[in-house]
């Protein structure tokens, strides 16, 4: 008797973990926590870095790019994408969502247009919906807000286009096919992919090269992000679209909450905390070792100079070690027309695709062939645009984008302080939350068919 109860509980647990769609709020909180963890591990995450790397490989393969791109499995941007896809695939297999879903032909045409628009948009905005908006606001960067604005406009226009399309385009809009597999096979594939991710994590961790060894956490955390987003069907373009389409604001509220959590987490990581473990360690190891040195007691002037430099550098090291993450991370020179135009083009493209940067990737993981076609075009157009922008210094030069033609590089705490920045983000996210909630009742912002 108790054995059968135990079996039932195990089945229920598997069902909750791997089969039922996760609640949007819970998914948003988990995505935020993983986004903070990956920053604490090394760097913020984004989707376009991976997609661009894959696009560069295609361009290199057909002879357009002469420089060999970073390795798919050895550049952090691409590993984020690989981990994310693997996580989404594991989730789609275990939850029986995976199958090859072949869309009608017109959807494939839209996929090509979508990919190109998303690639261009992500170049102007300095990232996709994650790196340019979600994680940009989360990283306390002003440019996240300009992309947010552009996304709203692009998604509304995209929705109007789709309404128009449904009235006027009849060619190739039906005849989709689905190739399914036995559930048992999917479970085996899911477990195999999960095992591959774990093996990959161990494999990276064992490498001698510092960069490669650090990819272990990147792979594992990204896989967690892909798993969570597929399981929760957590889609940012839906968060922007649904309030204007059906009025449903579940995902918009969840994204607002998620951004706020990332911003608070990021503020903690970017703030210089004097008592932070790394700073204390550097202080005790380095400063205690060189602190007794007095350059004035050294007769040889060259040696005295060197000792003085060492003491200065050690003091600097203590200051740097107070921050877990360099504030410059994910702050782009696109606070201005670049962010708005980029968001607009990206939002429009995402409406054609039916998924944003991440929404596209996790749908790839569940076998949606339309999104399989979006990815290469997204990658190629973004690689070409970024390559060209670099050549003409479109986004300025250096980590602070001096002379950017796309907009300003603004790290919000430099202007508002950390308190003011968090207050601004709280205000913006609460306003978004209340407006979409009000719209769900009043339907004032719905674009009618």
């Amino acid at each position: 008797m108790s054995e059968s109860i135990m079996n039932e509980k195990i089945k229920n647990f598997f069902k909750i973990l791997c089969q039922t769609e996760w609640n949007a709020t819970v998914s948003g909180i988990i995505v935020a926590l993983l986004s903070i963890l990956i920053m604490a591990w090394w760097r913020p995450w984004g989707a376009v870095g991976a997609v661009r790397n894959w696009g560069e490989w295609i361009l290199y393969g057909i002879g357009i790019f002469s420089h060999k791109p970073g390795g798919v499995l050895f550049s952090s941007g691409s590993v984020i994408g690989v981990g994310f896809l693997a996580g989404a695939f594991v989730s789609a297999c275990l939850g029986n969502d995976f199958s090859f879903k072949f869309p009608p032909p017109w959807e494939l045409v839209k996929a090509v247009i979508a990919g190109i628009l998303m690639g261009i948009g992500a170049a102007f905005a300095g990232g996709c919906n994650v790196g340019g908006m979600y994680n940009a606001i989360g990283n306390l960067a002003a440019n996240g807000f300009t992309m947010w604005l552009g996304l709203v406009i692009g998604v509304i226009l995209g929705l109007k286009y789709i309404y128009w399309e449904m009235e006027h385009i009849t060619w190739g809009t039906s005849g989709g096919k689905n190739i399914d597999f036995p559930y048992a096979l999917k479970i085996i594939l899911g477990i195999a992919a999960f095992a591959a991710v774990i093996w990959g994590g161990y494999h990276y961790a064992g490498m001698n090269d510092a960069y490669k060894a650090s990819l272990s956490g990147i792979l594992l955390i990204s896989a967690g992000l892909g798993y969570t987003m597929q399981r929760g069907r957590w889609c940012m373009v839906q968060a922007f679209r649904e309030p204007h389409m059906t009025g449903d604001c579940t995902l918009a509220k969840s994204v607002a909450l998620s951004i706020l959590i990332v911003a608070i987490g990021c503020a903690v990581l970017k703030y210089a905390v004097p008592q932070r473990g790394s700073a204390v360690a550097v202080q005790s190891v380095l400063m205690d070792a060189v602190g007794d040195l007095d350059p004035e007691e050294i007769k040889d002037p060259d040696l005295a100079d060197t000792v003085e430099d060492v003491v200065d550098a050690s003091e600097q090291a203590v200051v740097v070690a107070r921050r877990v993450l360099d504030p410059v991370n994910y702050v782009r020179g696109t606070f201005g027309w670049g962010g708005v135009l980029g968001g607009f083009l990206f939002g429009l493209g995402a409406m054609f695709a039916g998924g944003c940067g991440t929404g596209t990737l996790w749908r790839v993981g569940e076998g949606q062939i339309k999104l399989w076609l979006v990815v290469p075009f997204f990658g190629i157009s973004n690689a070409i645009m970024v390559h060209w922008f670099k050549a003409i210094h479109m986004e300025g030069v250096g980590p602070t984008h001096v002379g950017s033609k796309l907009g300003k590089h603004i790290y919000l705490p430099d202007v508002l302080g950390y308190g003011g920045t968090i207050a601004l983000i709280v205000f913006a996210m609460v306003a978004w939350y209340i407006i979409v909630d009000w719209n769900e009742e009043s339907n004032k912002l719905i674009v009618e068919m």
Partner: protein, 85 residues
């Protein structure tokens, strides 16, 4: 997965929409358009393959006031049934 509402067998449908292979948001938008072509009290059948539809369609029905009768799993796709308000 057994939490999804099952539709009774043998429903008499006024219209069938083939949304197989379509991904978000097309299945729901097509459904919204197609329901305009049937009369109140009649049933629309939607054939779909997007896992998102299993929540989107019932959610939209509740919002729009149509009665969601449930789904039936077929070979490689799902049949959704909606009774127009």
């Amino acid at each position: 997965m057994s939490d999804y509402k099952k539709a009774p067998e043998g429903l008499e449908v006024a219209r069938t929409l083939d949304a197989k292979g379509l991904s978000c948001p097309m299945p729901l938008l097509r459904t919204k358009k197609e329901i305009g072509k049937i009369n109140s009290g009649e049933i629309l059948e939607v054939l779909g393959t997007d896992p998102g539809s299993r929540n989107d369609i019932p959610g939209w029905c509740a919002r729009a006031g149509h009665e969601y009768l449930g789904e039936i799993e077929d070979e490689g796709f799902i049949r959704f049934y909606i009774k127009k308000k």
